[in-house]
Structure formats: C-alpha cells, structure tokens
C-alpha cells in the first residue's frame, strides 16, 4: 500500500469508466449508469481513505507522485494533497458519485452524457491534486469542453436559452483562464529568470516569487484575482452563475456549483496567495469589498427570484462572497474558514440542485408559483430540500455553521463594519431560503401533484450521501477543520504570518 499510486488511481478511475462505457452499446442504459456509478464510487472510496489516512501531525504534501514531463519548461506531472486540497478532492468525489445518481433518469443519450461527465469529474479532481501550475491549467482546460457540450445538449431553456447559458458559462471560464494564463506565463518567465532553471511546481514558483519586486507581485496577483475571481463568481463577474446553473442539467449544476467554482477559491488560496503574498496584501481590501458586495447583492437578488435554480444560483454567489471575505482577512482563522466554507457550500449546493432536479423531473416545473404543498406528496424530497435550505442559512448542527462562524470571526476582527454587512446577509439568506421552502413544500397540497412518486432506490443516494455529510460535518466540525488546519497553518507561516492588511488603501 505504501507505494500504491492512490491519487493517480482516483484520477483515472472515472476515465477508465468512460473508456469502458464507450464500448457498451448505447441502448444499455442501466449498464452504462452502473459503470459510471462504479467509477465514481472507486474514486470516492479512495478519496475517503486518503482523507482519513492523511497524517495531520505531519502536514504538508502527502501521497505525492512525481513524473517528469516537459523538462524544458520545468513541468512535472506532480500530484499530491495537503490539508487544503484534500477536502476539495473529497468534495469532488462525493459530488461526482451523488451526481451520477441524480442523473439516474437521464435517458436521452445517456452514454454520451456519462462519458462527458466522467471527463468533467476527472478534470475537476485534477486541478485539486495538481501541484504543478502547468498541470493545474491543463486540467482546468479539460473541464471547459465537457461543460459546454453537457449544457447545450442536456440543458434546459427557461429565462435564457440553454445555448446562451452554455456559451456564457464557457466564455466566462475561458476569459478567466485567459487572464490567468497571461499571469502564469509572466510569472513563469520572471521566476525562471530569477532562479535560472524553469520550475512550474507551486513550491518552486513560490520560492522564486519571493524575490519578485512588489510591483510585479501586485499586477500578477491582479491578473490571477480576475481569473480566479470570475471563476468563483466574484461580484461583479458573477452573472454567468445563475444563468449557467439554470440552463445546465442537474449533474452539471451540482458539479459546477459544488466544486468547479471552488477551483477559483482554491486557486486564490493555494496559488495566488501562496505564491504572491505581497500582492495579496495589497489587494485584500478590494477582495473584501467585492466579497461583501457579492454577499449582500446576490442575497437580495435571490430574494427576487421565482425559479428555484436561480435562487440557488444567486445564493451560491452570495456564499462565495463569504469565501472571498475570508480569504481577504489573510489570517489563519479566515483561510481555514474559507476552505471549510467551500466544502460546506459544495455539499449544500449539490444537495439543493439534486433536489431541485428531482422536483423538476417530477413536476416539470421549477417556477415557484406553480409549486406548493409538496411536503405531503413527496416527503423525502421535502426533507432533502429543507436540509439544504437550512444548511444554506447556516443553521448550527449542519455543516455550514462553523465555517461561517470562523469566517465571521476573522472578518469581523479585520474589517469591522464591512463584515457586519456580510453577517447581516444571514438574515436575507434565511428570508429567501425559507420563503422558497415554504412556497414549494408547504401550504395546501395541489391535486395535480397527487400522482407524484417520491424519490426512492437509486434516487435516494444523493440525499443519503450528502445529507450524512451535512449532518456529520455539522456535529463534528473537527473532522474537517483538523485536516484543513494542517494545511493552512504551514501555508500561512510560509508566507509570513505577520501579514498586515493595507497596501495602498
């Protein structure tokens, strides 16, 4: 077991599943779905193993795998996990597995759907385990293609057409990555000049970037901030998020809101903050301000929505505002909270989208005024919906409370009044989450939904898997925080714990 390439197996398991699916006749729907489930299950089980086998007392990168690749550019196929990427890896696989079951009823070209979905999951996972900037970008680009195809073929047209949604999503992702790429290339050129030898690994870049001039750090960070920020739906670059989720099929919404978005936050912490701390210091107030804007703005916008998916779409923009605020506080508590909140939001948003997917599948509508009283007819869906809604408003005992609490502490300490605005967001969140729940699930049951069948069998998997994580993570937050902390503390100490906010502002 010592030298078993666990991460590589996790990464390749869905790919192998996709290859197997390619040889299954397209009519064998059930077989295809089972293969997809098996592939993601292997990844999930192994990443759970990695999560608990990770030695927290040791910290740092573990389960490392290095294969030299392009030596002229200093690129190695370098995989590894630390306390920050590990929760993200686990999150991806929990969601990937659940999403397969949320798509259990996809009967329109399921083989193509699941093959693309497997590639998507692999791409997302790859970004989290890559420890080399080149590999990171490579996996990131792998993600974009399946997303686009999945949306335009299996998406749904509501306020905007699915083609528009898919295009918006893809172009936003590409614009972000274009800016990122400029930053990465400039960083690479400059660090190579400093070091004399090319090195694309995070550590190598961070080592060399220490000698960059303050000015260089600032503008490089700005590029990365724009790239990762638009991926994280940072206000005002957020408008792809509600439209994109509304157009995408359930599984894509789950993965996208659940983990793909988190690549932005992860990159901001693991790459931008780690490599360019001086730039981070300069831009922190801006990040905080945009984060708070996002929280308040998106929460209010969510309040005005009538389409369930739009509510969750805006809500996820709002929650990512907390992540930005936490990153901007630039202290150990804040970064811990940011990573934990990304994990918590991933689980919660995925459960939300999965449930909405089922509601839509059964009632053929997501329009709140057309819904109501579902709690009587489909109680399990109601349970899942309420769990997600309550987690979204940060109810203690569910996974998102402790991360939000830590974020609030960190942000309140550093930003004071600005943080109060963000904390006030919990009221608006409660308002829209409960309103959506009340108007969808409660009230007099509608006769036209009397025939609905509650979720059962494979459809229960997302509820069970994600619901369990939601509750267990809420009651035992140390499970999550101990791992994250073992990654955050060394990171923050390496970039100089005494980071003071300020810069030019």
């Amino acid at each position: 077991m010592e030298n078993f390439p666990v991460l590589l197996t996790i990464l390749l398991s869905p790919v192998v599943a996709a290859i197997i699916m390619a040889f299954i006749p397209r009519e064998e729907h059930l077989l295809i779905k089972c293969v997809a489930a098996t592939g993601t299950f292997i990844s999930m089980a192994l990443s759970l193993y990695v999560f608990f086998a990770y030695d927290q007392s040791l910290g740092g990168l573990q389960f490392v795998q290095r294969i030299p690749w392009i030596s002229d550019l200093g690129v190695t196929f370098y995989l590894g996990v630390d306390g920050i990427s590990l929760p993200m890896l686990l999150l991806t696989n929990l969601l990937g597995f659940s999403a397969v079951f949320s798509s259990w009823n996809v009967n329109h070209r399921p083989r193509d759907f699941f093959i693309l979905f497997m590639l998507l999951v692999t791409g997302v996972m790859g970004t989290f385990v890559a420890q080399d900037l080149f590999i990171f970008l490579l996996f990131y680009e792998v993600v974009v293609i399946p997303i686009y195809i999945l949306v335009i073929i299996w998406g749904s047209t509501k306020r905007v057409t699915k083609e528009y949604a898919g295009m918006k999503l893809t172009i936003y992702l590409l614009i972000g990555s274009a800016f990122l790429l400029v930053g990465v290339i400039a960083l690479f050129m400059k660090t190579t000049a400093i070091q004399g030898a090319p090195d694309m690994s995070f550590e190598g870049l961070a080592r060399a970037a220490r000698y960059l001039s303050e000015f260089d750090q600032k503008w490089l960070f700005a590029l990365m901030l724009f790239g990762f920020g638009s991926l994280l739906s940072m206000w005002p670059f957020h408008s792809w998020s509600p439209d994109g989720y509304a157009g995408a099929p359930t599984a894509v919404s789950m993965i996208h809101a659940g983990v793909l978005k988190k690549i932005g936050g992860y990159g901001l912490i693991r790459i931008a903050l780690y490599i360019l701390p001086a730039g981070a210091k300069f831009w922190a107030p801006v990040i905080a301000f945009l984060g708070v804007c996002g929280v308040a703005y998106a929460a209010l916008a969510a309040l005005a929505q009538k389409d369930l998916k739009y509510i969750v779409g805006y809500s996820s923009v709002s929650h990512m505002g907390y992540v930005l605020l936490a990153v901007a506080s630039l202290n150990v508590i804040g970064v811990n909270g940011a990573v934990a909140n990304m994990f918590a939001h991933g689980i919660m948003a995925a459960l939300f989208f999965s449930t909405i997917g089922f509601i839509y599948e059964k009632t053929h509508t997501r329009w709140i005024p057309d819904l109501g009283g579902l709690a009587r007819q489909v109680p399990r869906i109601a349970v899942a919906f309420m769990l997600a809604a309550l987690a979204s408003l940060g109810l203690p005992g569910l996974i998102s409370f402790v991360p939000e609490f830590t974020i609030f502490i960190a942000a309140f300490k550093v930003y004071g009044g600005l943080a109060v605005v963000a904390i006030a967001g919990i009221i608006i969140t409660a308002l829209y989450a409960l309103r959506a729940g009340a108007n969808t699930l409660f009230g007099p049951p509608r006769p036209e939904f009397n025939h609905l069948r509650d979720i059962r069998g494979p459809e229960m998997v997302p509820l069970v898997v994600l619901g369990t994580v939601l509750v267990v993570g809420g009651l035992f937050p140390f499970l999550l925080f101990d791992v994250i902390n073992s990654g955050v503390v060394p990171l923050m100490s390496q970039i100089g714990g005494a980071l003071k906010i300020g810069g030019a502002f």
Binding site: H238, S239, A375, A430, A438, F442
Partner: protein, 639 residues
C-alpha cells in the same frame, strides 16, 4: 447514583436526542411506540436531572465553583471551541424545571395528538426540542449555547409549521424563524465581539476575564457588546419590538405552545441574560436597557391581551408580558427574582396552555372565547385547574405567581426604578383583569348551546392536576420568610429580600381589583352591555389594541415594500445593467466588430490580389526609404 448523574449530566440532553433518532429511523410507522420512546426519553432525562438537582442543591460547593467538563469541538490557532456541560445551581434548576414540565406535556400530548397523521413525527420533533433546550441549559460555552439556541429555534419552526398544509401555519413558522434570525444577528455579533476581545467564549473563563475587562477593552465596547448580546433574547423571548412572532406561533399544536412558547424556549432569552449577567453587571446602561425593555413589554403586551378574543392568543400575549416581568427582574439587578418568576411561570403558564388545549380539544378547535361559556360544568378538571393557574398568574397568595411577582416588584422598588415599578404594578392589575376575563367568559356564565364539550381523557387531565399542584405550591420555595431560592440562585452574593408588606398588600389589592372588575363586567353584567359600551366609546383605542398597535402591519410593509423592493431593484440591475449592458454589451461589441469587418470580405479574388499587391508595395517602400534597421524594428522582426 447522584455522583454518577453529576458527572454524566450530558445524558440529560442526550436521552431525548436518542429518542428523536429512534423515532425518525425506527419507530415512525408505529405511533404509540414512538410516543413511548419519546416519553421514555424525557422521563429518563428527568430522573437524571432530578439527581443532578439533588446533588447540586445539597452541596454548597457548587455555589463557589461550577462543575464543568468539556471536549474539543474544533480548534485552530487563535480559536478554540469546546463543547461541554456546566453544572451549577442555575443550570440544575433549569434542567429540572424543563424536564419536569416537558415530561408532563409529553404525556398530555399522547392524548391531545391522538389520531393525528403526524403523531410520530410530532414526538420526534418535541424530543429534538427537549434535547436542544437541555443542551442550551447545560452549555458551558457560548458557541455551544448559540448552537442549541438556533436548534430550539429550528424545532420551534418545525412545530409551529406542524400543520404545514395550512397557509397560516406555514407563514407563522416562517415569521417566527426570521424574526428570531434578526435577533440572532445581534447576538452573533455580540458573540463574535466577545471572542475577538476576550479570546474565549467559555462561560467560566469569560466571567473571569470580564471581571477585569479594563485589560482587554474599553467600557464603551463592553456596553456595545452587552447591548448586542441582549438583542438575541429580545427576539427569542418575544420582547418588544420583536415580539410579533410569538402570538402567531400559536398555530402549532397546543402542547407545543405550552412547552416551547410558554414554559421553556421563550424563556431561553431570560436564561441567556442570566448566564451572561456578569457582562451586564459591568455596564449599568445595558442593565437599564434590559429593565426598560422588560417593563415596557410587560405593559405593552398586557394592554393588547385585554382586547384579544382567541384563547391561545390571549395566553400568548400574557406570555410576552410575563417574560417582560422576568427581564425587568434581571434588569433591576435581581437575577434571583427574574429566574424565580421564570420557574413559577413555567408551571402556571404550561398549565393554562394545556387547559386551553383541553378546551380546544373539546370544542373542536373553536378558539373564540366569546363563543364559549359555562364550560366548567362539563369540564370540571380543566376548569378548576385553569382557575388555579389564573390565581397564580394574577398573584393571589399563596399561589406561585404571587411570590415571584412580588419579588420582582420589590427588587424594582428597592433599586429605585419607580417608574418601572409603577408600570409593573399596573401590568399586574391588567394581568389579573384579562386573565379573569378569559376565565369568566370561557368557564363561567351561560353555556353556548352550539358547543358539546366533554372532559378530556385522564392522560390529559392528570398532567393538568399535577401542574395545578405545582402552580399552587411552586412558589413556596422562595417566600420572603423562607428564602431557599435566593440562597442558591443569585449573582455574586445572595439577594435577601426583607418582606415588604406594603408591596405585598398593594399587589394583592391590585390583583383582586382586576379580578373584581372582570367579575363585574363579564359575570354580573350578563348581557355584557357595559363592555360593548366601553368598546364603542373608546373605539379608536380599542381598534388599535385589537390590531396589536399595527406593528405586524408595519413589519409586513417593511418586508414587502422595502426589502422586496430592494431585491427587485437589485435583480433588475443585475439583468439589465450587469448582464444586459456589461456582459451582453461586451458580447454585442465583439459581434459588432465582426459584423463591420466582414464588409472587407468581398469574395472577389481580384480585390484580395490588389490588397496583396498594395501590401507588398508598402513593404517595399518602407524598406527602401527607411533602411533595414528601422524597418526591422517597425516590423518586429529579429535583430
């Protein structure tokens, strides 16, 4: 045994929590079994609580030093949060009271909820509630307390909305949660500030540090913190101006109203203030705020209660008013009196709610007291136990309410809060009046022939009798002549009240006057002519009171106009400005530039050839007239 209970007090919240899990995952299809599990859980918890209480109240060491045991919940550099159990007289009293009342109410609910399709679910929710409430009482840490605080709020939400197919229940539940959420925002800010300033939210450590707060912060900040923390109780305990949710919360089943919205959860705010009293004690301004809010709420809610017609709504406003009393007691510096009133109130208010539930059960949920009358003949147990409750709340000696109310009045007077004292005394008069108005209209007078009441089964009446007994004698633990209560429940040093006979006599006279007035208006005057006359003459005041000062309407307007308006505005901004102008605008510009450039693409070979030629010509000219070095620069070629 006692030792075991003391060191394993975590069993107290755990047992109902296990009952909750057992019902949800195992016994849900079998209603009676679920009820047994729930009752078993809470009774077992009561036994442990009783042992804990016995252990605490026989050992004066607990006055000096609470028993605390905790485990790590999560930690990181700069933030350590433990969850633990703190056993001291206050928490022991609280868990004893909660488990006792809850046990009785659970048993009562078996009868009340009989035949309901959600029978098992109901018992799972109340078990979860009991677990959260007990955790709240035993918390050793403010984060833990906040968790429990929100969980009781959740249970309250679930139970108010228990009949969720009714729109009114659904809306009431939402209102309760969101109103409390607004308050929790304040509380959360307070807790964050405490954590940031003092670096801990552990109650014991915090009280040590706050005692020397000068080392950490300024007086102003501490005042702000105290005010912020107090906002939480304002919401949870239904104090003005966040009381609006509590009367609506009566949409839930009656046992819930008794358990959550009368006896236990709504006094959590009082309990929280008592738990953090070491902060309030340092800042007189915050104490004043607590006292003023309490006294004002007491009076304010009592005036509304005078005009209401629905039996549970009157009781709800009475609850708001009585909690105001408790706050007043705390605010004037007597934690002893405030918590004493909480203790007695739990008995008589639970009693009255359960009796009201028995009435509603008999009348098939017809709630208007004007349509009742003479029920005591058909429902003697319910009626007479309610009368005991009425005597207790009115403050007739020796019933429980008299002693606690008296202590609050004395505390207000002794601390020099004369205005508040007068308000409280007038409230006492109003309380006696509206409560006996309810009793006379419901249980006495002529029977309404449309009603066919019957006495409730013993499973409901026995808890009533026990609660009536407790309401009668529960106050004897704290008489001025034998002040057992104040020897155990106090802040800093025991608070011994000398019997103040003037206050006692005065309050009895006021209570009697209230009852007498109600008797004159609603019993002697059979046709209720005077009442109608009064309502007619003071029509404006009556309308305002009947409509609860229009506060709900104001909030509704604020919510629907301001908040929703802002939301709509932001959304339109998002669609039309951010999305429309900026995002789609950029896309449009890209498209436009393509559109305009495609004109160059004529499709004629000769045009293209001409362009080639002109291009070559330009290059040649450039090379010829500027020389190779500058040309290569211009063209960006290699040097």
């Amino acid at each position: 045994m006692v030792e075991f209970a003391l060191y394993n007090a975590w069993l107290v919240p755990l047992l109902p929590a296990l009952a909750f899990l057992a019902i949800i995952f195992l016994t849900r299809p079998w209603p009676m079994l679920s009820a047994l599990v729930a009752v078993g859980g809470i009774v077992a918890s009561f036994v442990v609580s009783a042992l804990v209480a016995y252990g605490v109240f026989t050992n004066p060491e607990f006055l000096e030093k609470p028993l605390v045991y905790a485990v790590r919940w999560f930690s990181m550099p700069g933030l350590n949060v433990d969850v633990g159990i703190q056993v001291d007289p206050v928490s022991a009293m609280m868990i004893f009271m909660v488990t006792m009342v809850a046990s009785l109410i659970f048993i009562y609910a078996i009868g009340y909820m009989k035949g309901d399709p959600g029978f098992s679910v109901f018992f799972s929710y109340v078990s979860l509630f009991a677990a959260s409430m007990l955790l709240l009482a035993l918390s050793s840490n403010l984060v833990e307390m906040f968790v429990a605080w929100e969980l009781v709020g959740l249970c309250s939400y679930l139970l108010i909305g228990f009949y969720s197919y009714k729109i009114s229940a659904r809306e009431a539940a939402k209102k309760a949660f969101i109103t409390c959420r607004v308050a929790d925002f304040g509380l959360l800010l307070g807790l964050l500030a405490l954590q940031i300033v003092f670096g801990t939210l552990n109650l014991v450590e915090l009280s040590d540090k706050v005692a020397h707060y000068e080392k950490y912060t300024t007086f102003g900040v501490l005042t702000l913190i105290a005010v912020l923390v107090f906002i939480g109780p304002i919401g949870k305990s239904g104090q003005f101006p966040l009381h609006v949710w509590l009367p609506d919360a009566m949409e839930g089943p009656t046992p819930v109203s008794a358990l959550i919205h009368a006896a236990t959860m709504v006094v959590a705010g009082v309990y929280l203030v008592a738990r953090t009293v070491f902060i309030f004690a340092k800042v007189p301004a915050a104490m004043e705020l607590v006292a003023v809010v309490g006294a004002f709420t007491a009076l304010f809610a009592a005036t509304i209660a005078v005009t209401q017609r629905e039996i549970k709504r009157i009781l709800a406003y009475s609850t708001v008013s009585q909690i105001g009393y408790m706050m007043l007691g705390l605010g004037v510096g007597s934690m002893t009196a405030g918590l004493f009133h909480m203790w007695t109130h739990a008995f008589f208010k639970a009693l009255m709610f359960l009796a009201a539930g028995s009435v509603l059960h008999a009348l098939h949920h017809k709630a208007d007291i004007w349509e009742m009358g003479g029920l005591i003949r058909k429902m003697p147990v319910t009626g007479w136990t309610f009368v005991v409750g009425g005597l207790a709340i009115a403050g007739i000696p020796p019933f429980a309410g008299f002693w606690s109310k008296d202590e609050i009045l004395v505390a207000a007077l002794e601390s020099g809060h004369y205005v508040l004292f007068v308000m409280a005394a007038f409230t006492a008069f109003l309380t006696a009046f509206y409560m006996w108005r309810l009793i006379f209209l419901t249980f006495f007078g002529e029977e309404n022939p449309a009603n066919h009441p019957h006495e409730s089964p013993p499973v409901m009446t026995v808890p009533l009798v026990i609660l009536a007994f407790l309401s009668a004698v529960g106050g004897l633990v704290g008489t001025p002549w034998a002040p057992v209560w104040s020897q155990w429940i106090f802040f800093e040093h025991p608070h011994h009240v000398e019997p103040n006979y003037w206050v006692m006599i005065g309050s009895v006279v006021l209570a009697a006057a209230g009852i007498y007035l109600a008797y004159q208006l609603y019993v002697v005057d059979k046709a209720k002519v005077k009442v109608k006359e009064l309502a007619e003459r003071y029509r404006h005041i009556y309308t305002i009171l009947y409509n609860k000062y229009y506060i709900d309407e104001i909030y509704l307007w604020f919510n629907h106009t301001i908040i929703d308006g802002a939301a709509k505005l932001i959304y339109l901004f998002d669609i039309y400005i951010i999305d429309g102008v900026i995002v789609n605008g950029l896309a449009y510009l890209t498209g436009l530039s393509g559109e305009s450039l495609r004109v160059l693409n004529t499709g004629r070979l000769q045009n293209y050839a001409l362009v080639f030629f002109l291009g070559v010509l330009a290059l040649v000219v450039l090379l010829a007239f500027t020389g190779p070095s500058s040309a290569s620069l211009t063209l960006g070629g290699v040097k």
